[in-house]
Amino acid sequence: MKISGAEILWECLTREGVEVVFGYPGGANMPIYDAMLSYPVHHVLVRHEQGAAHMADGYARASGKVGVAMATSGPGATNLVTGIATAMMDSSPIVCITGQVHAHLLGGDAFQETDVAGITLPITKHNYLVTSADEIAEVVREAFYIARSGRPGPVLIDICKNAQIEQTEFTYPEEVKLPGYQPPSHAPKADLQKAVKLIENAERPVILCGHGVMMSGAEEVLQHFAIKTNTPVAMTLLGLGAFPASHELSLGMMGMHGEAHCNLAIQNADLLLAFGMRFDDRVTGTLNTYAPGAKKIHIDIDPSEIHKNVKADVPLVGDLKTVVTDLIPMVDEYEHEEWMKQIREWKADGDARSIMSWPDDGKLHVSHLVHDLWEATEGGAIVTTDVGQHQMWTAQYYFMEKPKRWLSSGGAGTMGFGLPSAIGAWFANKNEEVWTVVGDGGFQMTQAELSTAAQEGANVKIAIMNNNFLGMVRQWQEFFFEKRYSAVNMRTPDFVKIAEAHGIPARLVTKPEEVQDAIAFARDTPGPVLLEFRVEQEEAVYPMVPTGAALDQMLRRPVRTAVEKE
């Protein structure tokens, strides 16, 4: 029996286990939307296609499954671009399906024609232009396989309108045939032995874990390895949650705004074990001063990451979970008592400077708010963020115990990620508590998705940290541009009224004594709730490694703060 290309698409999507799709219809994908009505898939109508891509991304990060976004040709597809680039930088598995003009019109500048395959070529793991219905089944099968395997990433399928309409025989491809695509799994035994030698001789080892831990599902083997070898664990921004924050071996976050004791540990280590992380410039500081005394073992599934930024003494290319599982029986239990003692001393100094030891000054500080949120939710919520100061404070003070609960745009640093990714995460885990902590700047970039949240009844709690500034840029202008504030002051709308206009309950919070009650109100009210916090306007995120400095040359919170406390 012949069916249309659009029906073949949905046959394939349902076989991939797709239950929810985030998208926006238009001229070039109408046959797909028509066929959708016959399939058991929930469609979320976004308000801007960027939201669709971020929702698919949030869904993917929270569930470990592939997220799906849809858009029409031309502007619909180009609106996805920021979301696709975000997913690419953070290796998030999404499949974007865009409509395209009829194949015979391609290249002729038809209405709403844009070269989407060309535009997205450098920001997708792979992409396809489909010109006939016969190709659809094979392409969709490949796209999902490529998106979720190896180093995951976004895949785009651009489907010409004629291919959606044409009738053809449907046979589901039993297997994927990709001769040039074979993700590695085990690392060679000889290299594992080299790694073990370094591990055995290390006195000051540190594990650096990144997003790859989650992508590979390696959280448990990581814990097993760290505990067996008694090695402290530092995390990248996206690696938060890979290892429980409360564990005595946890060093917390590394990098530009990482914990001081964590960065000091890395700089003074004699062995770094990089687990699924890529030595991004935000975690290394200047490369020629990075961990000068440390040998490096780099485990990554992507060979192009090896030696890219930091030379690996022992590269182990393979699936992290598989490689660490192979390593565990080869290593012994070690004592690193002196090293741990040194780290505890550094940590005590950091604790004294922490804003958490400040007395109540009657003002709202984001770090305190995040701490209150962490306490109220018992550290168990899924938390998404935008990008900037609030993101760093949330990373620092919402201590993640479990993986796949910390969703933030790391590599791309995309403002506007918070709200849509939270909606996507809620669709992945409807029984979980979902919060998004956002700034007043980023929130306004994808504020339109409030309407989507209201329509879907998405149980997403929004905490806006409103300082009337683009805070991180302001901080840089304060530190590095002689406090010449340029285009960072932002007059914000009445967010409570905006929420209420969408039928979303909301509260304005201006005093510390209102915080707990507001959080309780949000948690007790079903569906989306918005809280606007008017926070201290000119506060800086500490510690900070300025660009061009070594990782241990951090700007620290002034010491007098600690004295003031007494």
Binding site: H126, G180, D191
Partner: protein, 185 residues
Amino acid sequence: MQYTLIALVEDKPGVLNRVASLFRRRNFNIESLAVGRTEKPGVSRMTIVTNCENDVDARKIEAHLYKLVNVIDVQDVTRQPSVTRDLALIKVKATPEQRSEINNLAAIFRARIVDVAPDSVIVEATGTEDKVEGMIELLRPIGILEMVRTGQVAMTRGEHSGIRRTPGANGNGWHAEEFVPVGAD
């Protein structure tokens, strides 16, 4: 230093674009690129000559190429025993009196005159890049009107067919002693 890479790729639309885009995006230069069919249906072969600072950069290119879904295999033949050839067609201004001089030059380089017009000839030169360059330099004073080159094609010597992935192209077992991190002075 010049590096020569061979890539076997699926013969599909847009693959050349993917390879070229990769070089642009990762900030590497293509010196020459030659693409053609192979002995296997559906498989094309690219010979890419690129200028890199060191082996580390060359290996980065290799690893990035290897990541492209349509790239089946990559080999760096820079230090492999191999045959490389470049073909040039060079149109030279030539009065009937100058033809014999050009003919003599061509003979020395084992080049051929493949077209003769009243006031010009076309010389076809094949060989390593150095040889072709040498030929061009000698023809230049006579007056080159037009020139076209294919870029290098390369094949390793020996009886094995196809190409062999460079050891470590997938990252394992590859150690660069002279590795200098980005930004180091």
